[in-house]
Symmetry: C2
Subunit: 330 residues, 2 copies
């Protein structure tokens, strides 16, 4: 059984980080489904915001260049919204090794500024926060369900866990109707592609399209559940559209454990790119949690959502997008 995606016809939506990778795909999907979409994005240099991401919806999405850390801007942004998707954040997993403060300032404090704005100016809005599977840290056993221990290994992941707990707290203490998601490794069109620190699959795609060799860390057998961005967006829409998701923490993952080697081999077969094994750096290794894939039975059961895009098809779509639009991403 597959549930149908909720309608957002006539809904007034806010997407923070809406010029970024997942945020822009979400904003487009919302506009396509009839929502009135306001995007907030700070467009910080080096971050994921890219106004070209919203080009398909040019004139149909209202873009507010504002920072989630700005209380006045957030007070304005949340007013009159029925649903708030909070995706803005510092997304570089390794930045904290040299500078831990952007994660704290943007992800923790920024989330709190947004939630305070909702509490004060729009406490009836529905909120969805997109965290990360990194909130779990290493898996004692796989697949990892939502009640597994949370032992995040890096400051980025700690900041996501804290932000999620803060969103949940505004739910049970202040009555905000919130759902928090823990996203697996998402890949697809509209991602930041200028450096390797955002998402490994998209970086592999860039290397393949550049004719570079794809480095597969370790022995390539580490398992992840990769998820195509359109499927991720559907999960976010399901979460916002269902009362069954209220107050819940939900994994959003690919459902199918896959090795990095498999990703490299599939890309290789689609582009003729070469791949090779490469060693971890010591600090990366300390943050590397080993095999990890999410148990997605809870979101399947509560919301009827399931991933629909096999890896090969997702990679084909991703390659096709960046082949055409690489000038906007490289």
């Amino acid at each position: 059984m597959t549930a149908s995606i909720p309608s957002f016809s006539g809904a007034r939506a806010l997407v923070t980080g809406g010029a970024g990778f997942i945020g822009s795909n979400l904003a487009i999907a919302l506009a396509e489904r009839g929502a009135t979409v306001r995007v907030v994005d700070a467009m910080l240099p080096g971050y994921g915001g890219n106004l070209f991401n919203l080009e398909p919806m040019s004139g149909r999405v209202d873009v507010d260049v504002a920072d989630i850390r700005d209380p006045e801007a957030m007070s304005r942004a949340v007013r009159d919204r029925d649903v708030v998707f909070h995706l803005a954040g510092q997304m570089d997993h390794v930045l904290s090794l040299t500078d831990p403060f952007p994660d704290i300032d943007i992800n923790i404090k920024g989330t709190t500024v947004l939630m305070e704005a909702l509490k004060r100016h729009n406490p009836a809005a529905r909120v969805v926060y997109t965290g990360t599977r990194g909130e779990y840290g290493s898996a004692d056993s796989v697949p990892v369900a939502e009640d597994a221990p949370t032992n995040p290994r890096g400051l980025h992941e700690i900041s996501n866990l804290a932000a999620a707990k803060i969103v949940e707290m505004y739910g049970h203490v202040h009555g905000i109707k919130a759902t928090t998601l823990r996203l697996s490794n998402i890949y697809g069109p509209r991602a930041q592609m200028r450096h390797s620190r955002y998402g490994v699959v998209n970086w592999f795609v860039r290397l393949a399209l550049d004719g570079s060799v794809i480095p597969v860390f370790g022995d390539g057998t580490i398992l992840r559940d990769f998820l195509y961005v359109d499927d991720c967006v559907e999960a976010i829409l399901f979460a916002a559209g269902s009362d069954a998701a209220l107050g819940e923490v939900l994994n959003v993952g690919g459902g199918e454990p896959t090795t990095f080697r498999k990703v490299a081999e599939t890309l290789s077969s689609l582009t003729r790119a070469r791949w090779e094994f490469a060693p971890f750096s010591a600090e990366r290794k300390a943050q590397e949690p080993g095999d990890f894939y999410s148990d997605i039975s809870k979101i399947r059961r509560l919301l009827g959502w399931s991933p629909r895009t096999p890896l090969r098809e997702g990679l084909e779509k991703t390659i096709a997008f960046y082949r055409i639009h690489n000038a906007h991403y490289w």
Copy 2:
């Protein structure tokens, strides 16, 4: 079997928040055991810092009025220290209901500033962080062991959980030798006594000494494990003095579940104060986790520490201290 308290003779110690309740008791204990003690305290108005707390060690403890959020001050403070006890923090459990930012700024960012200073200037130092049993939130079952889920119910507790995770992360990623503790309800001399928001037992003591009626929330049967501050200080010293505590999370609690009614009755018998039942406020109730007491078998097993002061004796000592010194605390 009771282990003996480690010697700190000749050790150079830093205590952040060392003019506060637990910090000052710890600083005094360290100096008594032969350590050279540097205290850092921001002396923020309305917080727990009180220079009278350190009066017994006047001239024997070096007090630096500095804020843990100040990177330069922390770089100076951590240099040449063998052991760093990190106790500074925003401690008001209910402040975040009206202003969530001090918890984030002081507890999360401040902790990170301190850990960055250690990473850069003194990575060989031993670190002990004192978090709270509030990091667990409501208990699914009692007693609560260290591997229980962490579902903190208020922003204060979330900030403590994030700070603890950050300290642990500097351990496993950057090699800092750290231990994080989760303290139960601590009471005793040298606490902030001007308002009711720091520790309920000490507040009951003030009311009893003032001749006021002690309000016991709900039906008075909620269980906690109250711990006298000298026992807490011993646990902190044990944690710093043993390699068995490295990288560990350890509960520090009273070991004996006790009702609030029992506390009120004991105080009543010691002071003739009256007590009565009182209702929770709605927001307090939302943050109230119900019955909670810690499983302290891990710290008993690893370090040989156990609480030594029965409730009645601890309350007697607390009453005796504030009877003499109330002018410095009321």
